[in-house]
Symmetry: C2
Subunit: 328 residues, 2 copies
Amino acid sequence: MNTASCSERTLMDYCPDIKIVDCTMRDGGLVNNFAFTDEFVKDLYRANIKAGVDYMEFGYKASKELFSPEEFGKWKFCNEEDIRAIVGENDSPLKISVMADVGRCDYQKDIISKKDSVIDLVRVATYIHQIPAAVKMIEDFKNKGYEVTVNIMAVSKVNSDDLDAGLKLLAKSPVDVIYLVDSFGSFYPEQITKLSEKYLDIANASGKIVGIHAHNNQQLAFANTIEACRVGVSLLDATVSGMGRGAGNCYSESLLSFLKNPKYDVTPIIRFVEKHMLKLKAEGTVWGYDIPYLMTGILNCHPSAAIKFIKENRTDYCNFFQELMDVE
Amino acid sequence: MNTASCSERTLMDYCPDIKIVDCTMRDGGLVNNFAFTDEFVKDLYRANIKAGVDYMEFGYKASKELFSPEEFGKWKFCNEEDIRAIVGENDSPLKISVMADVGRCDYQKDIISKKDSVIDLVRVATYIHQIPAAVKMIEDFKNKGYEVTVNIMAVSKVNSDDLDAGLKLLAKSPVDVIYLVDSFGSFYPEQITKLSEKYLDIANASGKIVGIHAHNNQQLAFANTIEACRVGVSLLDATVSGMGRGAGNCYSESLLSFLKNPKYDVTPIIRFVEKHMLKLKAEGTVWGYDIPYLMTGILNCHPSAAIKFIKENRTDYCNFFQELMDVE
């Protein structure tokens, strides 16, 4: 992974170090239980290649001891043969990513050596208190030959001292990228600026780069992503039509249109939306900005209560807001 | 109008100079032809008072020569007696606003002296080439005793020299507030920063303040509004559920939750959403972020083509994008 950072971000020119990670199937899989059709996945793979997207995340490498393959779609597990059924040898510039949660995967067994895998990037998702366990995984994946990122979740609930300590541990690890993750969609752009600068200071000093994964609870996922990009963050997560848990993510459509690198082209993604995303929505798959997600974002809490509220077709928003404040 | 500006904007404290203008009926009226029920208007008025909103814009003061009162709802014209039927003598801290478009109103006749009116604020909407005519209106409204703002529309299409010249003309006028308006929802936050600073430099030097009116084409209306606020803009436009032409505006729900002034309370607005906005949407009134609006935003053009596209239930987004680029 090229860790060189571009000297100046402008709205007119582009910096080749900026890269897009499509996580439609991974974060979107949390919405539909990873039940994507093969046609959807093949078309998304082709669309991402045509659009110049840099990485495509296929899903999780979840433990089959903890999660039953009968209850989840195959992209919860991302078996090597399932990915290969889509991408073959992946003879394309698009790199393949999977996510591995600390404590929820059998990584020693399920993540094979890079030389035998079509996967390029493994992203380790960790809570702050799991960082020592995350470092073990990072070391294993680097030894196996992968690019590796670490995504520290729920940092909006982490105090600054703990975050500093955690970032320092990660700086000493062989990880390539440290991710700023706004799990609850609770950060405002000026908070993203400060956090990005903190992450960049620590990461750059040890030759690493920084990524951002934003949620759209306050309709700030795109704004926060481009703000992080402006101050030097270079790996940018996006999903088609913002598909992702709860309020969803930064829209690929917006991000591809914003970035000026001529290798990017939003048209194949728009075409994909026409063919697949409209259908998905029409069939009743629900995600994206809504008042209950705004509320969990404002209150900096997990979207699970909002997801339940919406699933129950409730619209008594005021009661819900009070319920959330009781919990908090 | 208090033109004192607060020394420091922080996320934790608040600046009393920051004020909210609800323009649900004015910008939202462009969606439903100003056909709001009296119950809607009365409930919105009460909700705004309870929420601590500072101004409520009832609609336009449009010329009855140019626009037929039979073709539009009454809030296109905002007759004094229609406003009074809702607010009486407006014995509340909520101030009443109307908008007057340059060249589309009979302002000498239709805007009466402030001492006979329940209206507090008149907002003059102007294109850059109409500024001399706008200044005449501003002078008239100030002489009649009103607070007055000027809203320069479509500045994303105006070159810097013209904008500088226009702002200088307005700085010499008696207007209280100069508005930065992102008519096409095409600005990114860092452009808003620069423009806000330009407006603030010129406005503050002549004892005026600056307002912002954003559109949500790129899901940046809220982000742009709070970015402008961060650098010193103090009059912030918002609409309930973002109701407004095309992609709509900055959501009152988001803005009220963001601002820390204890006089603000989002709950009455949430309750209003429950009662009225869900119904409006269910009845088929359409506004808010959608791909066609993203496209007109990106291409910096008027949303009219996108509004037509959506009204025709088209979903061939790629064709539409090409059509827009032909026009441009």
